[in-house]
């Protein structure tokens, strides 16, 4: 068990300016990266540099600044496409994040394709952003939503997948890693089953891309959605990856400039993918700096990140177990979980836990984590959630546990 952080990780942490501040009179311990990550200096500098030197609209100006902005914007696309194993940059559509990426698929592919009686298979582990868009589409098309259930460790029960997947199943939409529990889902296994009935597979990768090497080809999925702000990039950035033939067959999502070829009075023709799905001035600075964030993560290396996070996670689970009175949700096998610990403590409500920790400079999340079906599954209304990233250390875990001891002083040992 490590007791002090390794120097190389202290150096990584030092690159995140927000991590060096005091909160409530204590050095900040930021354990809310599943909500959003902090940003390294290189990303912040790139953001300033873009606005100071290259700021211009893309794909339309004939001038030098527009040329620079367009090149950087498209280079970032190519970088993120290869980052997730896409065959071609044109398969990567910039979005505001995972939520918009899923809404894009639901509105475009879903409304165009789904018919009454068709089925969309979700899981009860999903974030609301992978449930509500499908409810909206289901209400309009008459499609039916079905759910893969969880077991008592918050793992998907795949035993009855062959019954849930029928010839009526058009899409399976599942999360790669649960934001509420940290469960890592066997996406490859799910896609293999889905292919047998001809269903497409959409994967919510918001919690996966920041933490591990994702390869969409290897996963065998058809759509993959992720956010930039959880992977050291800026808010409002993110992407949808989809197979070329799907994007080409899907109708536009938003109408406006940039996404057209020729506009007539009554109808128009569309630009090539991915531009067909990028109406209006996009988040140029967001896309470019997300590319810088991807480079940063590559430089640290996903093998190293995964190993470090696992070390911190294992240490945290051990310390919580030693403390006692803490109920941890999610898989017990470290191979099946990511650096997210969702927990409750006896009578102490997660909001109270969070307030007490906040007064000691420890930032966690409390609530339902936009996963009310998960809370319902465990018969609770909320959990406290500590989530780790590459800049966290075992020292942070010690501070968390000290804070939880203080919770037990106030509320009793649970």
């Amino acid at each position: 068990m490590p007791t002090s952080p390794r120097p190389e990780w202290t150096a990584v942490r030092a690159q995140f300016p927000a991590m060096t501040q005091d909160v409530s009179g204590h050095p900040l311990v930021y354990l809310d990266s599943a909500a959003t990550s902090q940003k390294p200096r290189v990303v912040l500098d790139a953001l300033a540099k873009y606005y100071e030197r290259d700021n211009a609209n893309v794909h339309r100006g004939i001038h030098e600044l527009s040329r620079r902005a367009t090149i950087a914007y498209e280079e970032a696309r190519a970088k993120l496409a290869s980052f997730i194993g896409a065959a071609d940059p044109s398969e990567l559509v910039w979005t505001r994040g995972t939520t918009e990426a899923i809404n894009l698929v639901a509105s475009s592919w879903g409304l165009d394709t789904l018919k009454e009686g068709d089925e969309v298979l979700l899981s009860s582990m999903e974030h609301h952003s992978n449930i509500v868009p499908w409810q909206l589409v289901a209400h309009r098309t008459g499609a039916r939503l079905r759910y893969i259930e969880m077991d008592d460790q918050g793992r998907l029960v795949l035993d009855d997948l062959s019954e849930l997947l029928t010839e009526r199943t058009r899409l399976v939409a599942v999360t790669h890693i649960s934001n509420a529990l940290g469960t890592v889902n066997p996406v490859r296994e799910i896609t293999e089953h889905a292919k047998k009935v001809g269903a497409l597979v959409l994967v919510d990768g918001a919690q996966a891309v920041p933490h591990r090497r994702v390869d969409v080809q290897e996963l065998g999925c058809d759509f993959y959605a992720f956010s930039g702000h959880k992977m050291c990039g800026p808010t409002g950035s993110g992407a949808l990856w989809a197979r070329r033939e799907l994007l080409e067959s899907m109708p536009p999502y938003h109408g406006g400039g940039e996404m057209i070829r020729i506009v007539g009075r009554d109808s128009s023709t569309w630009a090539e993918i991915p531009h067909k799905f990028e109406a209006g001035t996009p988040n140029i600075a967001g896309a470019i700096t997300l590319g810088v964030a991807a480079d940063f993560l590559d430089e640290v290396g996903f093998d190293a990140i995964a190993e470090h996070e696992r070390e911190v996670l294992a240490y945290a689970l051990q310390r919580l177990d030693d403390l006692g009175g803490v109920t941890v949700y999610g898989p017990t096998d470290l191979d099946e979980r990511s650096g997210v610990i969702s927990f409750t403590m006896g009578d102490a409500h997660p909001h109270d836990i969070s307030t007490i920790l906040d007064s000691r400079g420890v930032a966690i999340r409390a609530g339902h984590h936009c996963a009310q079906l998960v809370m319902k599954h465990f018969g609770i209304s909320a959990t406290a959630r500590a989530s780790f990233y590459l800049y966290n250390s075992t020292d942070d875990v010690d501070r968390l546990v000290e804070g939880l001891a203080s919770v037990q002083e106030i509320f009793g040992p649970g």
């Binding site: 409500h349 997660p350 909001h351 307030t355 209304s381 203080s406 509320f411």
Partner: protein, 172 residues
């Protein structure tokens, strides 16, 4: 422990949290409100029975944090057997205290509710403390006092006293 935390988690608050008064249902209730804290998903139902203008019975049910549960418990104690208008005045007084209006916090008519004064130093928790009186107002068909920021959720419910449970559905 930090001084502000001590003021937040006073013994009286924790005592109401552990042993909530008037928790459960009111048989033959004449009004009901269902409120939620959208941040954490806590959902609480308040039921009451009016005899004329008097609140003869009141109870709350549902889960929540120590602040919301304690304020629910204290609120029900304070308004039970009060006239409707008195209860609404108390709600306004309590809201003033939470929003830091000068003088409101020392008003003795708030009784045990004064223990919740410390919550006003924790902006993200004020909503937890106000939930009880939002529910009371909704059940009584009243809005927040003049000059205070209206709560769109409470307004949207349009809650008024009623004699069936169906209205509660609209606020779910």
């Amino acid at each position: 422990m930090e001084a502000s935390l001590t003021s937040l988690y006073q013994e009286l608050i924790l005592e109401h949290y552990r042993n909530p008064r008037n928790k459960g249902e009111v048989t033959d209730h004449t009004a009901e409100a269902h409120v939620s804290n959208p941040v954490c998903g806590d959902e609480i139902t308040v039921q009451l029975r009016l005899d004329g203008n008097q609140i003869v019975e009141i109870a709350f049910d549902g889960q929540g944090c120590s602040i919301s549960q304690a304020s629910m418990s204290m609120m029900t104690v304070m308004v039970k057997s009060r006239e409707r208008d008195e209860a609404i005045n108390l709600a306004d007084l309590f809201t003033d205290m939470m929003q830091g209006v000068e003088g409101a916090s020392v008003d003795e008519s708030l009784g045990d509710l004064r223990a919740l004064q410390g919550v006003s130093k924790f902006p993200v928790r004020i909503r937890c403390a106000l939930l009880a009186f939002d529910a009371l107002r909704e059940a009584l068909g009243a809005k927040r006092g003049a000059g205070l920021k209206a709560d769109p959720e409470a307004d949207a419910s349009g809650g008024a006293a009623h004699d069936d449970a169906s209205q509660g559905e609209t606020t779910h």
